[in-house]
């Protein structure tokens, strides 16, 4: 027990990584699913353990191979990284329980164990991304997670061959992002001689104004922005999410971009926080705010005109990433906190929305547009009800989680930028009601087009679906845990700037 507690930071990464190998060797698809469920559950327990351990200390530092930090790889769990760790481990657990029904439907049975191997690898990569405090190790995990998600997206080719094109686009664009990131890391390493984040943060301000630092920062941020699908660089995301197998869409939509946004916050505040004063970073901040506003509107408008329901949700993800980035780029304590609150809530919202939408498309056995799902809500009331809850949460109705994040975001925007930004946020939220209503109208009010097909509820997925809908309401009523941990995360992130 003591050994486990001492090694929690590495165990959250190594458990899914090692178990993915076990799953790869298992021959039966049910066994592989059960092992994956257990693995993600254990990972979630380890993350909870880290959360409770963090109540007493500010920071858990873990030295891999007993090498002292600036020389060896260090894993750091602090108030910031615990938030994505908990999101990824909990959502991946829920998504794994949810997944088997859809895997059996969409992937040939003999490939399911290997799919779960990739699934766990992707989770391990994401967990590694958010635990590591070494910029090069981060690159390795970035590659692990994105390569395995590319393969997962390509698994959708049994349903639609376009999945292969989507996966290829994702691969190429993602590889460009990773290359940019590693060029940035190389530039920083060439002038500081270190890869450790806190060591970089100490050494960078000493260099004074230096063009290499600026170039390194630019490359790193641009690379991660591609991975996080920030507005003009989001092009891979809609088709990757739309053509991936249903359960993969759920996992990726709820976790993958969140980890990248966390890295953006890490890079700009933890690593470059000390150099904020040196460079006129206000211009950059304004530029990123502009990008987030563009993302909010472009994503929403693209979603309004979209017919394919999974693509619609993916476009709306682009908009929601805009909100998160807006909060984080405000660079005030309440702004960053609101970004993190929305990071949590959006994972719950999008996870729930994708779950209910793919559940409704389950019996149609083809790609679902809004209109092929006409009137399906009446046949699947529970699924539809969860969909409504998550949808209202997306729009930010009071008593749902989305309301809390919008509230804090608007407040932070008002405090730092003024009324115009609040107006833009509220306007884009109002626009999101349009596509939400479009879906609700088609799913509930339109006449039933699928009378001849046997469409009924899927009881196997009640637990994850209802759980996520419940969490959306619960965090709308009592958001203390989320807000408190987000505010302490924001404080410890901004410590770098205020030094």
């Amino acid at each position: 027990m003591d050994i486990i507690l001492k090694n929690l930071p590495i165990l959250v990464v190594i458990t899914p990584l090692m178990m993915s190998l076990v799953v790869a060797l298992s021959s039966n698809y049910i066994t592989s699913w059960i092992i994956s469920c257990l693995t993600t559950f254990v990972t979630f327990c380890f993350s909870l353990g880290l959360f409770f351990e963090l109540q007493n200390v500010n920071l858990i530092s873990y030295h891999l191979g007993n090498w002292i930090p600036p020389f060896g790889i260090e894993y750091v769990i602090d108030k910031v990284s615990i938030i994505p760790i908990l999101i990824i481990s909990s959502i991946s657990f829920i998504a794994t329980i949810f997944s088997i029904k859809f895997m059996m439907n969409e992937i040939s049975l003999n490939l399911i164990p290997k799919t779960y191997c990739l699934w766990l690898l992707a989770i391990a990569g994401l967990m590694g991304l958010v635990t590591t405090a070494d910029v090069f190790n981060l690159f390795v995990f970035l590659e692990i997670s994105s390569l395995s998600s590319v393969a997962l997206v390509a698994m959708g080719n049994k349903m639609d061959k376009k999945a292969l094109t989507a996966a290829y686009n994702y691969l190429i664009i993602g590889a460009i992002g990773a290359t940019f990131y590693v060029i940035g890391v190389g530039l920083l390493y060439s002038i500081t001689g270190t890869l450790n984040m806190s060591d970089l943060a100490d050494k960078l301000p000493m260099l004074g104004i230096n063009k290499v630092v600026i170039a390194g920062f630019g490359f790193m941020i641009a690379g991660i922005m591609i991975k996080a699908a920030i507005f003009p660089l989001h092009i891979w995301l809609p088709s990757a999410y739309a053509f991936a197998p249903s359960s993969v869409s759920v996992l990726l939509a709820a976790t993958a971009t969140k980890a990248s946004i966390y890295i953006i916050a890490r890079i700009s505040y933890t690593i470059f926080g000390g150099t904020f004063e040196l460079y006129a970073i206000d211009d950059l901040r304004f530029f990123i705010i502009l990008l987030s506003i563009l993302a909010m509107f472009a994503g929403t408008i693209m979603a309004i005109y979209e017919k394919d329901i999974k693509r619609l949700l993916a476009h709306s993800s682009v908009a929601q990433i805009g909100y998160i980035l807006l909060g984080i780029s405000l660079a005030t304590s309440s702004g960053v906190a609101s970004g993190f609150i929305h990071l949590v809530n959006h994972a719950l919202i999008k996870g729930g929305l994708f779950m209910s939408v793919v559940a409704m498309g389950y019996y149609l056995q083809k790609r679902v547009t809004i209109y092929s799902l006409s009137g399906i809500g009446k046949k699947m009331p529970i699924t539809f009800f969860s969909f409504i809850i998550c949808g209202l949460s997306l729009a930010g109705l009071p008593l749902t989680a989305g309301f809390i994040s919008k509230l804090y975001l608007v407040k932070a925007a008002y405090d730092s930028e003024g009324v115009w930004l609040c107006f833009l946020i509220l306007l884009s939220s109002a626009l999101s009601l349009i596509y939400l209503w479009k879906m609700i109208e088609a799913l509930w009010f339109n006449p039933d087009d699928n009378k001849d097909k046997k469409v009924k509820e899927i009881p196997e997925i009640y637990i994850p679906l209802v759980l996520i809908a419940f969490l959306n309401i619960y965090f709308g009523i009592d958001a203390t845990i989320v807000t408190e941990s987000s505010f302490s995360a924001a404080e410890s992130l901004l410590k770098g700037i205020n030094q």
Binding site: I3, N7, I10, I14, L17, M18, L21, A24, L25, Y62, H63, L64, G65, N66
Partner: protein
């Protein structure tokens, strides 16, 4: 047709190629092992050695046909070895965790720190070599087999 593979029969019947492949097979693997076990002293290590060892198997498949290659190293066993390599790596790390030290701290593996580091890196590199060589072979099989299936249809 001798082989159902429908591969390039000319190369397969060419005695010079067949005999030189047979002669070269063992020295290539031997050289791979040399690179493998000198990784901790000089240039080399698991990655390079893995590729060199895999090249012996790939040469064999190229000359004698994919079918013979599969007989030499069945794809299932290939996949098993591929996974086992990564396992070895992970288990070395977990062993040190069980011995009460952080992940991958080789010091505790031997009686002295130095021998511990030596044993640790050798085991890890062995795992890396195993995985890399089998990944290379699997990649070759995947691309070579792809063509084969298409022609069959």
């Amino acid at each position: 047709m001798k082989n159902n593979d429908n591969e390039n029969l000319e190369t397969q019947e060419n005695p010079i190629l067949r005999i030189s492949a047979k002669i070269l097979f063992t020295p290539i693997i031997l050289f791979g092992l040399y690179v493998q076990f000198h990784g901790d002293f000089g240039p080399g290590g698991g990655f390079q050695a893995g590729v060199i060892i895999a090249s012996a198997f790939i040469l064999y498949s190229l000359i004698f046909g994919l079918r013979k290659g599969h007989e030499l190293l069945p794809p299932k066993f290939n996949f098993f070895l591929l996974v086992m390599g990564a396992f070895i790596y992970g288990f070395v790390g977990l062993t040190t965790v069980l011995m009460g030290e952080p992940y991958l701290s080789y010091n505790v593996l031997g009686s002295t720190k130095q021998s511990g580091q030596h044993i640790g890196i050798l085991l890890v590199e062995f795992g890396v070599g195993l995985t890399v060589s089998n990944v290379m072979i699997a990649l070759f099989n995947a691309f070579a087999g792809f063509n084969f299936k298409k022609i069959k249809k």
